[in-house]
Amino acid sequence: MSERLTLTSEENVRLNRDAYKNAFLIDTKPREIEPWDKEWGVAISGNTPEPSPFPRINRILSVTKKTTNGFVSPERAMLVTQAYKEHPGEPQELKCARGIANVLLNTPIYIYDDELIVGCLGCDKKGAPVHPEFGLNWVVDEMRNGLMDYSEQRTHDYFSYTPRTQEELESIRGFWDGCTVQDYTDSLVTEELVKGSHDGKGVFFADAYVFCGAGHLGIEQERLMRLGFGGIADLIDEYESKLDMSKPGDIEKSVFYKAAGIVNDAASAHIKRYAALAREMASAEKNPARQEELLQIASNCEWISVNPPRTFWEALQLLHFANAMILIESSGHSVSYGRFDQYLYPFFRRDIDTGTSTRAAIQELIENFYIKIWDMNKLRNHVLIKTFGNGGIGGPAMTVGGILPDGSDGTNELTFMALDAHAHVRIPNPWLAVRMHSGTPRELKVKIANTIRLGTGEPKIFNDDVTIPSMLSSGIELEDARNYHVVGCVEPDVSGKEYGWHDCGHMNIARVLELAINDGRCFNCGPSCPRWAKCGATGSCLGLRTGSLETMTSFDQVLQAYDEQMKYWCDRLVGYLNAVDIAHMAVRPLPLLSILMDNCVESGKDVVLGGTKYNFSGPQGIGIGTTGDGLATIKQLVFDEKKITGKELLDAVRANWEGYEPLYAYVNSDRVHHYGNDDDYADELTKFAMDTWCKHIEKRPAAHGGFFQPGAYSVTVNVAHGRNQWASVDGRKAFEPVSDCMGAVHTRLGSHDVRGPLAILRSVTKLDHARATNGTLLNWKFAPGSVSGETGREALIALIEEYIHRKGMHSQFTVADQETLIAAQREPDNYRDLLVRVAGYSAYFVELDRALQDDIIGRTSLSFD
């Protein structure tokens, strides 16, 4: 084996690319500066001991990997409570500012061995703070019921805590009772909004932001790098000095500026605390090299606490602090890093040109920074983690590549280094997105294909050629649209200028079809339903009475019923989401985030009140394939072929297909038109299913400003929605997942897409991606053999090019052996580092809920070798 590692003949290396399982045959040895066509092997994923060329990075990685769970940290909750108590009569904006300022000034801080980038969430590695303003009861309840720490109900993403932590949180519970976002929301929603929601029958979920901040945004990084906190302080002063306090509006603005000033000063002071800690540690440090590093860290922090950064190192440090402080302020998901290779490029260029730093040193900093993102964590309840397996803060997307505001291609050296950094750490953070377009350079395509083939599921691909027009249709200006970044799993967004409320809720449109053809009633309506007494028993039903398939005489009636039912449920979803939005506006302004966003200081208005440039609210439609196949099945079997009656089909589904096995097998066979096979019959109906969802969501007014944007992806909630749903006409049995994102249906009996990746590609791109302005997603899953070798790489590149060409918006790739996934399910301890694509993000396979593992295994594997 050692002999092979020293392969010198370029030709031998090339000859061996077929051996995808034996990566040692290829020259995959990591290098500080990687060539653009570096190969990492195929389906190796994280299963390699020391992925980085930098010993320091491998050391930090090993410590961070070993820290599988952290502690619940009560300090933030206690400090916020203290500040609120000391200022009971002040406006909410000011109370919020005093709360976060108290935390930044007093929360514990840490600097770890070896690290060059410092900063944490005010708690130890992988620990998580508590945000009582959004809801405290659930945290305390999980502790009381033993559901926060490791137990059978919580085998991953668990948190330790001391008895003292629980006591402290219990002690402030009374103070927050009735004062949280959750409480405020509850007071606004009516039974009509609740009945179909997450608290009712689960047609839609609108609770994403009930227990935490909205997140799903990026700060305006370029502005922060230009102004520094000192510059922002000047800006606040400048606008505050212009106020005319005789005007009522200006009195409100003065409150905002006071709050902004408080948090801005606290942010500077917080960074200075790190400078002091680094100096203190340096004085005690025995190793002179490390001592020097600590002094440099101290000097970096001291400078950027007020001033704009001068070097790449300082810029990266400031970026990390800014995002960490936003996470301390609000527990929002998917706080993202924007166009990393663009706003940092000037610093990179200057450092290299002036000899201040080297490419290798900058590569090492980026890798350290990736692991720092992984240090941070967030509390989630034991139910939520079942469908979300990534852990960590969740959603820290980072975007590279793509066109510039002037329309030219923006690929640069940092684009490549960001991808290399992932291959060198192979952890699920950040969530990398690469923007592509018709002019993406060949070298970057090869780098992307090779990274995808590694099998960690990173990066995801976004298509500028469809995303930018889609954003223009939402009224975003051309330069801003061209400058988009990707937030969290899926959503295109203008970093620093958009409060998009992306992913605020989701609706199972397959449930809408169920209610549409069953006269507003659930298929499993009966006394076992918890709502029976106030619904079915009274002769009432859950949805709108749109008639039954039994009596419908034409397929047009089915389509019309679906349309009417969809409007009915979109009304309720939008109503619920706006109630949550109003609760945020009233209870939890975000002054720190506001000063880092465009236009809030200029307008004197907090971001949650619509202070920044663009405002939206973006819920997703779930089960697009399931709905499309359902419609196709009805049209073909009941109306076109008249093979069965509507009543027979409904009876079969109500019986969960039991006693209807031949029909069940038939509906799941290729004899019925199915989405995902480049078959217009099914694809057009799937398009109708999705367009109808978009039609009833798009352009509705959002509470904090702007309007609603529909999305077309499920991430992993298709599993949760499936658990809530009885059998469906597409051949799905009760409680199976509905189809994922824009993917085809796969039921227990098999996959409905049977004609290969190019047929999927054509089916998926018949849907109107640009209309789903909140984002779309297609998950691909490849067997390693079909992407291995030169031929495999070129085919993968061609497939991506075709997807771009056909105006698909967003794609993600799993490259894994079916056998490996099944083996990992069986022997999880041997596959701890098997990082796979879930949807929108990558996660360690063995940490996923069983149902989600099965869903990934069930996705059609595209294997052709």
Partner: protein
Amino acid sequence: MLHTTAAGEPCALITEIQKYTIHDGPGIRTEVFFKGCTMRCLWCSNPEAISPGQQLGVYPEKCQGLEKCGLCMRVCPGRDLIEHDGSGPVARVNMGELCKDCLRCAEVCPGRAIRLWGEKMTVPQLMKIIEEDRSLYDRTGGGVTLSGGEVLVQWEFAQMLCGACASAGINVCVESALNCPEEHMRAVLSTADLVITDIKHMDPDVHRSLTGSGNERILSNIKCLHAMGKKPVIRTPVVVGYNADEGNIRSTSRFIAEELHGEILAWQLLPFKKLGTKKYASLGLEYPMSDYTPPERTEWEPMIMRYVDMIRNEYGLPAFAGSSDIINV
């Protein structure tokens, strides 16, 4: 052998059409598998393509069971031809003398637990499917690959299909063992863009014991191909214990170097993978190599690499391990 549809149109029996293949010819290709073969290789992984006629395959895991479905039994004109596992899933279809080959059971089976191998397809039907991926052929230099079974068993149809592809401007690769009359080969390959063929063993007797057929005609056809000015891709499935000895590799090398003057596009040494076990079972056939345990990768991989180096260094031939390298056509 030329088949015709009920309407009298010429057609072929096709077992499968595989899209997005990347190992049988350049670029992304659509691969059409023809039914019928002139050889009986012990390691064959496409047993459904051996017999020249239509056949039924049985997949019990897709069956809903006799008690819950049983549609096949209702349409079968014979008795005891379809066997079930008690009241459970279908176990086999006895396509013996009593079966009238009516294929009704496959037609009615709702979940394709009984499936037909060898669907009749005409040139226009195949061209429609082939044309679907044209943009990807253009993007990658791909096209269509005719394979099998032995595509030249249905040589008249293959010739028509090659002609149709040529008129449509689609690159055609023919993957054939060339164990056929020379004129059949000439008829089809004159319009093909690329030929992939096998040399499984150089010794005629050993070749016969491995494949049920001697190699004289094959080697003669390969030489004829060379005389036609065609540069083929040669493949050798390397099966340890059967044809993987150095002597055989060396005599194959000499043949290519001396008889073909080394004028080939590539010689691919393919590691043996034990595939198709399930297909044999579905056809009620015995897998000839069912008892064979292939060596570990750690054993065959260095061996293949050694051969590749040897062939390149000592014979100057473009040898490759596996089929994942781009062939420069």
